[in-house]
């Protein structure tokens, strides 16, 4: 137990802040509504009439300029924005080629502005259109040139339109950016915000598991059945009387405690605060009290560690290590019972 406690404390000291950050960032991520985060909240619902390719005369794929066909992975013929187009996919990106004359179809900034405005149904107007190259922070799962269409809404929406296909690559907004910041904290990838198999988080996670395991085991030691007294029949009380003496205080003070409870904690809840730094954790060794010889319990491992032999022999024990069993008499250090001013 002692060793587990030490492990728990030291691991906590080194990575406690990160565990706190994991819980905090996890909480923030869960609290954010995913529909707002991915921008669907302000995206027009897609109602598409089927766009039949129809009988217009078209170029066959083999008739398209060879430069587009080289190393193509797939080709799709569809109608987009009213014209038949071939979408040609390569390992490094996609291109649209007109099915009518084989020319490359690209999207200009005003096209992008129009497409983005059609999609966005939130409360705001287009304020600017910028050109950029994916992948960057907000378009990390794409590649190729894009138009970033910025809106004036409260959520600072930016809709990314691919220059080569006119597709909406991403809808980003403040919700996403907040989420992404906390996601970065959560996965500890401070540069790319996406690699959760990075060596730093692996190391910290391998350490943190010991915090969890030791804490879980300590949980069993820190509870006894008397902690659950409130589950028992009401009215069935089992009390003992503790008589307290303090030098300089005339006459003893008696407190009635529940049998089986922790001496330190029980005294504290009855207004007798023993000196302590750690709050009853068996770590600071401050809560020592002197037992009458007739009541003297055996010294615990922590008593052996924190109470000098000389004092143990005189009857000193740590109150936080004692369970209230029988009526007993204790001698406290000066100032303990002095009522607060």
């Amino acid at each position: 137990m002692l060793l587990l406690k030490k492990l728990h404390k030291w691991v906590g000291l080194f990575i406690g802040i990160q565990v706190l950050l994991w819980l905090l960032s996890g909480l923030v991520i869960s609290l954010l509504d995913p529909v707002k985060v991915n921008g669907r909240q302000w995206a027009s619902p897609v109602v598409t009439e089927p766009q039949y390719i129809g009988p217009t005369a078209l170029l066959e794929p083999a008739e398209l300029p060879t430069e587009y066909l080289k190393d193509a992975l797939s080709i799709d013929l569809t109608i987009q924005h009213g014209i038949p187009v071939y979408l040609i996919r390569h390992s490094d990106g996609e291109h649209l080629v007109s099915g009518i004359d084989g020319s490359l179809v690209t999207f200009e900034s005003f096209d992008a502005q129009k497409l983005a405005s059609q999609d966005f149904n939130g409360d705001g107007e287009v304020i600017s259109v910028e050109r950029g190259m994916a992948p960057d922070m907000e378009t990390r799962n794409h590649s190729g040139a894009y138009w970033r269409v910025n809106f004036s809404d409260k959520a600072n929406t930016a809709i990314y339109i691919s220059i080569s296909t006119g597709k909406i690559l991403e809808r980003r907004n403040s919700y996403w950016r907040v989420r992404d910041f906390f996601w970065m904290l959560h996965i500890m990838d401070y540069a790319g915000h996406k690699d959760f198999n990075n060596p730093l988080i692996i190391t910290v996670a391998l350490v943190a598991i010991w915090l969890g395991l030791s804490g879980f085991l300590l949980l069993f030691g820190s509870f006894n059945r008397h902690d659950f007294f409130f589950l028992r029949f009401p009215g069935k009380r089992d009390d003992v009387v503790i008589t307290l003496f303090e030098p300089g205080v005339t006459g003893p003070r008696k407190v009635v405690l529940r049998r089986g409870s922790n001496l330190f904690l029980s005294l504290a809840t009855h207004g007798v605060s023993l000196p302590s730094i750690c709050g009853g954790g068996g770590e600071c060794g401050k809560c020592r009290v002197r037992f009458e010889v007739t009541d003297l319990p055996d010294a615990s491992g922590i008593d052996l560690l924190l109470v000098p032999k000389r004092l143990r022999e005189k009857g000193y024990r740590l109150a936080c290590q004692q369970i209230v069993e029988n009526n007993m008499t204790l001698h406290l250090s000066e100032g303990t019972l002095t009522p607060p001013d």
Binding site: L23, S30, I201, G279
Partner: protein, 241 residues
């Protein structure tokens, strides 16, 4: 009850909150550990597949070209060229059907039969193991292909990963692949986000409640560290009463 001193409050809170969410915090740490340690590309099955980026051989002029397909399928909304086992096929999408057409013969092969599904799976499988089973899944999909369009051929391999390939019988593509470590990941993810049904909703109340409690738990833990370590420092110079 009289006013308790801060360290006593912190210790009591830490203990009882630990009882309340300690197990879940341990589950978060353990499931998180698995997810960060096991490489996500391996989880996605990238190491189990091959021939997925095959360049397309564009068919030349023939009797079975796009013009003829458009005449045949007048309600086509999309006509694609895709490689199936290295050979190029047309896939025609209409409002409610999909067709796979051989550009050389014009033959329509649909839906793909078990042997073809096995062959396609074999073609994309990077391992050495034999196929143990093939089933056509048309309804009640297993959780691992919950969001996929059915029907799909499920082809199981007899390897140590319990690999399953899902082949689309309407276009001959490898729709997805799953294996034991993916399935473990998915299960642990459900435990991590406490969505035991759909395994996808991280915005649920149970999780948020547990996170609030867990956060308080962590704060009391850090708070206690302060007392633990300051007690340690002063121990030596203790004045004996």
């Amino acid at each position: 009850m009289p006013f308790l001193k801060p360290p006593v409050v912190a210790r009591t809170l830490h203990k009882w909150l630990g009882l309340l969410v300690g197990l879940q915090v341990l589950i978060w740490l353990a499931t998180g550990l698995y997810m960060v340690v096991v490489d996500i590309d391996f989880i996605h099955g990238d190491t189990l597949v091959k021939n997925t980026q095959q360049p397309l051989l564009v068919p030349g002029k023939s009797a079975h070209d796009i013009a003829s397909l458009r005449a045949q399928y007048q309600d086509a909304t999309k006509i694609s060229l895709r490689p199936v086992m290295g050979k190029t096929f047309y896939t025609v999408t209409t409002v409610d059907h999909r067709y796979l057409v051989d550009p050389q013969t014009g033959a329509v092969k649909l839906p793909l039969d078990e042997n073809t599904a096995r062959e396609i799976a074999r073609y994309h499988y990077a391992g050495e193991a034999q196929i143990s089973n093939a089933t056509l899944i048309s309804s009640n999909p297993p959780m691992e292909i919950q969001t996929r369009r059915l029907p799909l051929w499920r082809v199981d391999f007899d390897d140590r990963f319990s690999t399953s390939f899902y082949i689309d019988p309407y276009n001959g593509s490898l729709a997805t692949r799953r294996h034991q470590y993916w399935r473990i990941f998915d299960f642990l993810w459900a435990l991590h986000i406490m969505d035991y049904e759909d395994r996808s909703d991280a915005h649920n109340r149970l999780l948020i409640f547990a996170q609030f409690t867990g956060l308080t738990f962590a704060v009391t833990g850090l708070w206690l560290l302060f007392y633990s370590f300051s007690g340690r420092r002063r121990k030596k110079g203790n004045v004996v009463i």
